[in-house]
Symmetry: C2
Subunit: 310 residues, 2 copies
């Protein structure tokens, strides 16, 4: 009984920002580290692996918070905000089954200002005020830009994506005030953007990058996979197959990066996929091969293989 | 003896980011609120009034931190970073004489990365890492933009100023982790930018705006006043004089904002000053008269009079 690792533990569901922050501060006052796993919900094994990574990252007692929030600011008007899948009840069941999630933070909206957020207009009297605002409130206008890393790769076709991600993650950091936060390396550029933001803005948060989790047949787990037809799901396997082939070629000594990229495009296109981009880049600055550290032949073990067919 | 308000108290001088954060956390663990007064040094009565405002803002026990840091990122290459005045020993004496400053944070550089800031390259092994970086480090590339408020007024002639201010203030917030931070309303647009950033990014910090402190003859106190010749100092009085006249005109019923602005320009120009801009704006969004709340005639008590002759 003592070793029942799969004990169900119902996490506390928190919707209010101030309540979330107060909860975190209580946990820290109890001597626990707070770990945040930000998600957009519709959870799968990949998300659960982030939770495991959060637990593994801490030597001492830890309180794990999973946030579920579909962040509107990272979607361009042409993207799939309206059809992004959700299943809150199912998510809660999965989180409870982990036995290690202490709280779920699911705010209704992180950008709209309700009356509770609007301080009084005490400023007119000349006293100390907290953020005097006009009656009626304002729209959000503060954005965090990670100016080099947000460009290129996914940033080329998704111009507001990394701005929206960096900004909402900073908001979540300021609300949850975690000691540790975990991000999946499936979204590698996002992970690099977050790491850079944390370093540049001096957030006191350890960022953990967690490895890609794949289905048995190689497909990277993603909430959006539910939108694939059976036929498209088969085509999508060409992505992981082409990346494995590319990796094999590099490990066996090929340093002809253009040939390797062409082969990836060919594999995916022949399977009926449409390629957004294929690049071979260094891990740190995500610069093209040769620009960012040693050239391909010396780096093959450390390369990031990006071949997303959006 | 018990009422010796002017007791000297030597503040602790802290240069290291991690030491600063640890110091703040200890104060909070002792039940104190931490108040931050960010400055660029060369302190005058205006700065000391910010410290008084910090003390006044807190009902309970408080630990006041004054930061002294000339932030390079808010200066354009054409501006006066190289000649910005400094007097660290004098600043420390003044802060000690207040009797209420617990710590002075004066970091050597908040943008350059030393080896201490660079985590190990443990990422290649696939384990949990905190911000894997390439050898050699990178320059800062994360910037916070408050996209509407940073435009216009001082933003027109100082294109990187508010970006640099917002970013360094966020860094100081993440290092010092204050409950309260105080900014002078002399730099009114800056104060509005900080308030908006704090609201939009959900910083758990009360922002206090503190009134302008003037010399007996009306000149707003500023560290840069030391750079004025005796003649220029006399000319500069035309700024406060013209603003007082404009305020008087508005209070006596004038709603002809263009006439009022023209008169301000005339007063300053006739005194030999060069006008950068004169605008009459609403307090919240800093929009031009009529665009941002009720028109001038109904708002005159609440108007911000900006007439900076840089």
């Amino acid at each position: 009984m003592a070793a029942a690792a799969a004990a169900v533990h119902e996490p506390e569901v928190i919707r209010d920002k101030a309540a979330m922050r107060a909860w975190s501060r209580r946990r820290r006052a109890e001597g626990k580290a707070v770990a945040l796993v930000p998600t957009m919900g519709f959870l799968h094994e990949g998300h659960l692996s982030l939770i495991s990574a959060a637990v593994a990252a801490s030597a001492g007692p830890i309180a794990v918070v999973v946030s579920i929030y579909v962040n509107p600011s990272q979607f361009a008007p042409t993207e799939d905000l309206a059809t992004y899948p959700s299943d809150f009840a199912g998510d809660l069941r999965k989180l409870a089954a982990t036995g290690v999630v202490a709280a779920v933070f699911c705010p209704p909206d992180l950008y709209v200002r309700g009356s509770a957020d609007r301080p009084s207009a005490a400023g007119a009297s000349g006293g100390a005020v907290s953020c005097l605002e006009d009656a009626g409130g304002h729209a959000h206008e503060t954005w965090i830009r990670v100016e080099r890393l947000e460009k290129g790769l996914c940033g080329s076709s998704r111009p507001v994506f990394f701005r929206g991600v960096a900004t909402v993650v900073a908001k979540l950091f300021n609300i949850v005030e975690p000691d540790v936060a975990v991000f999946g390396k499936k979204d590698y550029q996002q992970w690099r953007v977050i790491c850079r933001m944390v370093r540049d803005l001096d957030f006191a948060i350890q960022i953990v990058g967690s490895e890609v989790v794949r289905e048995a047949d190689g497909l990277a787990m993603s909430s959006r996979n539910v939108n694939l037809s059976e036929e498209d799901r088969k085509k999508a396997l060409s992505i992981s197959r082409s990346l494995v082939d590319a990796r094999t070629a590099a490990l066996s000594g090929s340093n002809r990066s253009q040939e390797i990229k062409d082969q990836i495009v060919r594999t995916i296109t022949e399977a009926g996929g449409q390629v957004d981009y294929v690049e071979i880049v260094g891990q740190g600055k995500l610069g093209a091969c040769g620009e960012d550290g040693p050239p391909l032949c010396n780096l093959c073990r450390g390369l990031v293989w990006k071949g997303q067919a959006n």
